[in-house]
Structures are given as C-alpha cells and as structure tokens.
Subunit: 202 residues, 6 copies
Amino acid sequence: MWTYEKKLQYPVKIKCPNPAIAKIIITQYGGPDGELGASMRYLSQRYTMPYKQAIGVLNDVGTEELAHLEMVSAIVHQLTRNMTMEQIKASGFDTYFVDHTAGIYPIAASGMPFTATVFASKGDAITDLVEDMAAEQKARTTYDNILRLVDDPDVRDPIKFLREREIVHFQRFGEALRVVQDNLNSKNFYAFNPEFDRPKCK
Amino acid sequence: MWTYEKKLQYPVKIKCPNPAIAKIIITQYGGPDGELGASMRYLSQRYTMPYKQAIGVLNDVGTEELAHLEMVSAIVHQLTRNMTMEQIKASGFDTYFVDHTAGIYPIAASGMPFTATVFASKGDAITDLVEDMAAEQKARTTYDNILRLVDDPDVRDPIKFLREREIVHFQRFGEALRVVQDNLNSKNFYAFNPEFDRPKCK
Amino acid sequence: MWTYEKKLQYPVKIKCPNPAIAKIIITQYGGPDGELGASMRYLSQRYTMPYKQAIGVLNDVGTEELAHLEMVSAIVHQLTRNMTMEQIKASGFDTYFVDHTAGIYPIAASGMPFTATVFASKGDAITDLVEDMAAEQKARTTYDNILRLVDDPDVRDPIKFLREREIVHFQRFGEALRVVQDNLNSKNFYAFNPEFDRPKCK
Amino acid sequence: MWTYEKKLQYPVKIKCPNPAIAKIIITQYGGPDGELGASMRYLSQRYTMPYKQAIGVLNDVGTEELAHLEMVSAIVHQLTRNMTMEQIKASGFDTYFVDHTAGIYPIAASGMPFTATVFASKGDAITDLVEDMAAEQKARTTYDNILRLVDDPDVRDPIKFLREREIVHFQRFGEALRVVQDNLNSKNFYAFNPEFDRPKCK
Amino acid sequence: MWTYEKKLQYPVKIKCPNPAIAKIIITQYGGPDGELGASMRYLSQRYTMPYKQAIGVLNDVGTEELAHLEMVSAIVHQLTRNMTMEQIKASGFDTYFVDHTAGIYPIAASGMPFTATVFASKGDAITDLVEDMAAEQKARTTYDNILRLVDDPDVRDPIKFLREREIVHFQRFGEALRVVQDNLNSKNFYAFNPEFDRPKCK
Amino acid sequence: MWTYEKKLQYPVKIKCPNPAIAKIIITQYGGPDGELGASMRYLSQRYTMPYKQAIGVLNDVGTEELAHLEMVSAIVHQLTRNMTMEQIKASGFDTYFVDHTAGIYPIAASGMPFTATVFASKGDAITDLVEDMAAEQKARTTYDNILRLVDDPDVRDPIKFLREREIVHFQRFGEALRVVQDNLNSKNFYAFNPEFDRPKCK
C-alpha cells in the first residue's frame, strides 16, 4: 500500500497559462507512453517476477511513476488554471474544455482516452523487462518531443527532470534483465518460464 | 507523491488456486467500475476542486483505492499462481492465459482492457462529487455480485472488506458534496462554476 | 416501440454556418456525456428496475433523450450545411470532414467515436439511479461549457433549453431514488438487490 | 422526435431462463451489426441525404430499429430474469453478470461494449446507401447464426421476425439507391456530391 | 505469402512539406475507411469464400491495398520529413508529433488509432461482398474529400490514382457478387450459407 | 509493393476441427502481440529509420509477418471449417461464431478486436528498435502459451515454426540496434534524434 506525502517529487511552478502546450503535455498522463500506463505496467508485473531484485526495481519505479503522473497533472493544471476563453479557443483546447472544463483527465494528445492496451504484462520475466526497457525509451522520446515544442523554462525544467528519470529507469531495467538472465539456467533459456512452469504445490 | 509500505491494506491469504473466479475478480482491477478507474478518477479530480475539505477526501480515497487495486491484484495472483493446465482450460481462463500467462493485467471480466472512458473528471465540483457517489455504488454492486459468485471464504473475506470501504467512501463523498453546496452562494447555484469561472489573475 | 413525429422537441433555426462550434457541440451527440449515451443508459436500465414509478421515469427520460440527440444532430447539421472549404480548414473541422463530409456522426469533440463504456447499467436500482443523477450533472456541465464557448444566440437558445432539461431530469431521478429507498426494507438496505435476489419462479 | 407506445413491435414471451443464449443474443443490441448501431446509422444519415424519398426510408427504418433494440433487450431480459447462480456459472454468463447483474447493457457477444466505429455516416448519398445495404446483410447473417445456435421456439420466433425485417430493409435501401442514382445526372456520376457540393447560400 | 518489390505501385514525389494535410491524409492509412482496414478485410474474407473467382478477387484486391497503404504512408512521410517546428505548431500537427515525432502510425484524422471494428468478416459470401462494395464507396468518398481539401498537385496526383482504383475495385466486387448469386441455388437464396452449412466431413 | 505467391511460408495441414483452440490461436492474428500488429509496426517504422541496414531488417521482417498472419489465419480456418454446432457450443466458440460464423477476423482471445494502440511507431531509431525487440519477446511468450495449451501435433508444428522465427527476429533487431548505436555520435547519444533533427532542406 502507499501513503501520501503532500509534496511533488520535483517542484512545478508555472507562471503563465498556456492551453496550447497543456493539450500536448497531457499525453504524458493518459497517452500511449504516459505515466499512468508506465505505473500500472510495472506495478502489475511485480506479481509474477521470480527474482527479488527485479521485483524491487518494478516496485520502486512503479511507485515513482505515480509521483510522475502527479507532476504531469500539476503541470497541466498550472497551464490551464487561469486561462481565458480567448486562449481556449485560439489554442484548440476547446475540444478538451467542452468535456472536462479545466479538469485533469488522462487522455492522449490525439484525443484518445487512456487505454491499458498500450502496455503489456505477459507473465514472463525476460519479456516483461524488455517491454519495460522499450517503455522507458518511448517515454523518453515523448519528453524529447515536448522539449522540442515548448519554450517556457518553467515548464521545460520539470519536463527535463522527468526525461532524465526515464533514462535512469531504462538502466535499472537493463540491470534487472541481466540478473534474470544470469539466474536462468542457460540450458533452458526460453525453454521454460519460471513465472509459470514452476513446481506445483500439492 | 507516494511512498510504498510493504504490506497490503488488509491481508489476502488464499490457499486454493481457482482461475474460474480469478477471471471474474480481475474486473475490479481493470473493469468498468474497478479500482484503477476509481483511483485515477479521484486523484485527477483533486486539481480543480475548490474547497479544502473536499480535496482532502479525494486525496485520501484516491490513495486508498491504490491500496485496493493492489489487494485485487494480490487476490487474482494468489488464485492463479499454482493452477494447472487442466484448471486453465476447464475454467475458461485460457483466453486470458494465452496473452498474459499468469501475469496480472487490468482487464474487465468481459475481456475489454481498462479504458479511462469509464470515469469522468469534469472540472465542476458538484458534478465530480455526484460522479464519485455513483462510482462507489457501482463498485459496491460489483463486489455484491462477486460475493454472489464466490464461495471460498479466503476470497470472500477481503472482498467483504473492499465492499465495506466503498460504502464508507460513498458517505464521505456525500458529506463533501454537502460542504460544497453550503459554500456555493445559493443564488448562483449552477449559475457559475467555481472551478472555472473564478476571478482571473492579472 | 416508438413512433416518429416530424418535428423537433424545441425549434432549431441557425442562420450562419460555423464549423468551429459544430466540432464542439457534436460531443453532445457522441461524446462521454452526450445524448446518445444518456438515452441508451435509461432505456437499458428499465428492464430490471423493480418499481413502477422509477420505470416510468426511465422510460420518459430515455425517450426524451432521443429527441435531444435529434436536436443536437440538427444543430450540428445547420452549423455545417453551407460551410465553405475555407471555413472547414480555418476551423479545424477538416479532421472531421475528411471522414464524414458534412454528415452527422456520433463522436466526442476530442475525436473518439461514441463508446458505450461511458455509461453503466448495473442491474441494481439504487446504483442505476445514482448513476443517472451523475449523468445529468455531467451533461449539464457540458452544456455549461458550450454556453461559455458559443456566442451565436441562434445556437445558445436550443442549448439553454437542453441544459434546463438536464436539471429537470436530475430532480426526477432524485425523486425516483427516494421512492426506491422507501420501498426497500430499511433492514436489508444494500443487503439484497431486488433486481436480482427476488423469489425465483418454480 | 419520438413518442413511446407501450408495446413491443412483435411479442416476446419466453418461459425458460437461459443465460447461455442471452450471452449470444445481446450482440444484436450492442455488437458490431446490432440494432443500436443500425438505428444510429440511419437516423444520423438523414441530415445530408439529398432526396426526400431516401430520407423517408432512413427515418422509417431508423425508427423501426429502435423498436428492434427494445425487442432484443426484452429477449435478453426474459432469458435472464429468473436464472440461478448455478445457471450463471455453468453458462459462462458470469463474466457479464459480475459487471451488470441481470441488467441490460449494449455489448457484443465477444465482450466489447458498443462502439460507433462499427458504422459509417459519410455524407455521400450513394456511399451511405450502399453502407446501409451491407449493414442489413450483416445483421441478417447474425440472426442466421443465432437461429443456428438456438433451439427454444419462444426465442426463435421473434428472432425470425427480426431477421425477416432485415431482408425487407435491404430491399428498401436498394430501391432508395436506385432513386438516388436516377436523380444524379449520369454525366457527373461520382464527380460531385450533392450532400456537399451544392450551391452555397449567399 | 508475399514478396516485396522495392517500388511503389504509383510514384509519390512531393516537394513541399505540409503537415496540415499530412494530418488529414493519414486517415487513409489508419482511419475508418483507410487502406489498412481494406487490406485486412479482403485478406481475412478469403478463407470462407466458397467460389474460386471471388477468392481471386479478394486476394488480388487485398494485396493491392497493401501497396496502397504503402503509398499513403509514403505521402504522409514526404509531407512531414522536412517540416519545421513552426509548421508543426501552426498546422495543429503537434498533437500527432508529440507521440510519434515524424514517424508513420495508423491513426484516423480524428485522432483514434486504427481499430478492426471498422470492418467485417462475416463468413457469408453475399454479406462479405456487399460489405466490400460499401467499403470501396466509403474509401472513394474519403479520397473525394481529400481532393476537396488539398491543392498541391504533387499530392493530388497519387490521391487521384488511389481514388480511381477504389472505383475499379467496387466494380470487381460487384461482379464477384453476381457470380456468387448465380452459383447459389435460387430456391435457398439466404436460406443456407455455403461458407458454413456445407456437408460435413466424417 | 508486394506480390502474392500462392503458398504458405510453412505448410499448415490440420485434420481435426477444434474451435476451442481456434479461439485461443486467433489472438496471434488480432491480439495484443499478434502478427497483424507486428507487421504494421515494422512496415510503419521504415520511413523514418535513418540507416539502410536497419530499414532492410524492418522491411524483411514486416513482410515476413504478413506471411505469418496468413499462416495464423490458415490455422484458425482449418480448425473451424468443419466444426459442428455441438462443438461450437461446447467450446465457447459461440461468442465468436455469432458475429463471424466461421469467418476469419482479427480479434484477441479475450474478445477485443485488433487495435493499433498495441504498437508504437515513435520516429526515433533507438526507441523503435527496442520496441521491436520487446514485441518479438511478447509474441514469443504468446506462442509459448499456445504450446502449453495445445496438444494436436498438426497445430503445434506450424506454431513451433512461428515461435522460432520470433527468436530470429529478436536477434536481427538486436543487431540493427547495435548498428544504429554505432552510427550515432556517442557524444550526443540521446541528445538529438536523427529521424527528426536532421539538416533541413532549403
């Protein structure tokens, strides 16, 4: 279980409303490679992971992604809390506004609400960890694209922090994968799945 | 942000694998009225809620629902961790197994992966709180149905706990709604939205 | 069954094409809190509702929502029937136009086609009616937002009518809920579901 | 607008509960070729159809499909209203029951809730009518398959009625298509779209 | 199986980047009536089609649609390969760019990723072929709309080619339908399905 | 473009109908890690890949996955072509049959039709190749699970072939990734994206 600590993992202090970029950044909450999918991917995969160290990584990173989805939500909120009707219309934020006002809702920049089909939990240690490495690269790319699109330093600063964390996570999943591969008897590499083909209880 | 505490909110100790009911209970992770939707609904709504007390309720309940999705995951995991191929086929769990082995994945009992379209974050204090009351009744009904379908006392016990919590949450959202309605000047009830139509900063 | 009467519930007479707001208003046909979802929610819930008066409300309101989806369609049609290619491109309506020309299609403003996941039919009288109350608040909020975004009085007039009706429906579902709660023996409140746990026929 | 008449278009009187076939028949409410999609397809297409006779067909058939979705709902309701927990589990209806009890909800037999992506409203008279003819064949095929799967004469009787109506609708859309093609100047067949490329008002 | 030939079915040579129209044209890759759905519709339907000539048409057209989805991808790629950040923002392409950079991804213009719900494979020869005729009309309409929206002759030229092919395919499916109808014994027209109700092997 | 060669990449000769396993295997056509998603992932990613050798791998593997989706379709077809109504009902295939008869349609075993949200095309060479490596592991796991569930040697044989190919593809993408990493100036590793941040034409 989790306990809430009333602070963001990294501070978010945005002075100017800007719905044009809010519309883009929301994708890192509910989009295909966003923090909600990331968090649920790792927290879900914990249950069948056969090695302690890898479970620890999934738990840590999954918990940290919860902090990230809170940061992304805070960024979008601060970008939209004092916007005017003119800004809403001029920025194309109206298609979001009509259904959510200035509320936070997990949706892709393209307009598709979050769907769990964007991530996998396959019950196979190697597969899940390679999936996780890919996920971190995908999130990193999206943050790269946000940095290409956004000029406001108040926004760029926490986005850079989030981007850096994805690279750290990528490394950690890479290390966890090495641990798993070392543990698997090289002879039956891919020939059995320790998540499922383990000795049955009687 | 959240910190992880290595225990479940309420203990889950299931002795016998039973994929037939795992297939049903998974719906309270990723189904239409499950704990993932619940948690994200409340945590998302915090940002525009105008009154402190109501924010507190959203924060508390949203955080507790994270603990619940972990409990539901643990129940499904314990029901599937030592199942045999015969049990998988006989129970109809094979349609889940083929894509997820015994991994945990947020999907409805019907087979539809989690989608955020099942919940609303409307940026309107009254609307969001009535939505939340409805959500708690819907989750309560699903737990009622699980209790109608499941005999194993090891499973029924944590499900009963989860069901009770939904009723408590329903009450808390009802109280928060009263606070909001008391705060709103009765004259402009529904005529303005404190989440959005507030004095703009200059 | 229903018989068609060749008139709108409330007149829609729009003089100027305006695809920019058509793109927004279509959400009340096919969006998360639109009239198609509303109508199907109430008409679906009729079958298991245990008390006559509540069934009557569901039937009346569900039928009226059919009239509303026709009104919303007529609004969108009148806003798009004589638009020019320049208006289409300048307004961002081109992403709709390419796939539907000026045809009417139930889609959210965000671009997501209608999905029934936005509503619930839970087979539990209390739950369904609280869901319905939330639905009316959500629709009311969306109409509020349309009124914030739209200036044309020809459009605002029928939208105001539709918004008013949602408030009336909210009241009616509130009354139906009271009737249901009065009918349920207070002792087994929540302990059985009259929709499902009734005496079985032999 | 529509007025409700308290009777089914064709009587439904089913004596024995049978969730195994309810699970199949629900697809004609919310499935890919079901009556909800059919009704919304035709009622949506009315607005841009350029010829009166074809509009009349769309209006009549769209209205009749509302009666059909009510009949399908009634069939599913009568097949599930007095089922036992044993029947629910043995029939595989439990995956539906857990989220909807015995409530009616528009879902495909496969488990996917209704989505408007199954139909088109293209704003082109020829295209929409060929789409409609295809739709009627698809619905007819689904009813054929239900008749292959269901033995109970109480159920087969209204299903046969519904199947027959699809064939009649197919003919009517075929006739409407001929009318449209006769009206279009053969020279510019496909070269302009009367729904959109019409003289603009000044 | 298929072998790749390193050339496009028809040349695509676009000189000027233009993300505004790339955003529209991508719908013919992943949108409701795009080439991906077309190809998979015909290739899937081959298996149960009972007559050789109709199988040949499905195979030929399905294979050609693969060439078309490659052409549409090439058009979108050439329209986006050298765009500037200013063009991306001014054109509204930013909602696509943030998640896919300038990569090609099958999505509708509206923002909904490709879903197979847009096509049918019903296992009934008549139904499948009428579905295919409708599909070709829908694709033709979308190309008509693209031609209404796009001025660049470098883009219009391959789009006109694609549009023409849809009309040819429409004719070919019409002929295949006639063959199927001639083969079916007129007495049991619609009364049995040669795809399914054939003599069983022992 | 592609030319069709009238043979399967590897022979499929199944003697006994078995809808119970057809229901499972169809997931490798339209499921989350199936061959349709695989093929479209690789063919889509070709356009922005900056190095020739990696483009070649994407093209080869994407084309081979088309052959695989044909093989999976053939397996499902041969497993369902002579099934009886009793087999359909007993195996739970009825929920598929009602909407598709014995036609082939790309759907997950869980019942969700194919959606492109299961794969990514991010326009970043490193990201796309790690995504591809993960994809191959996910497909390999699904084939492992099919082999755990299926006894019929006629079915196991082509499934084993398909599984082996995924491992070969995994290696090839790993090699392509090394090529890309060698080409990228190590200093600006991750600091620019050669797919997008390249010298602009004037």
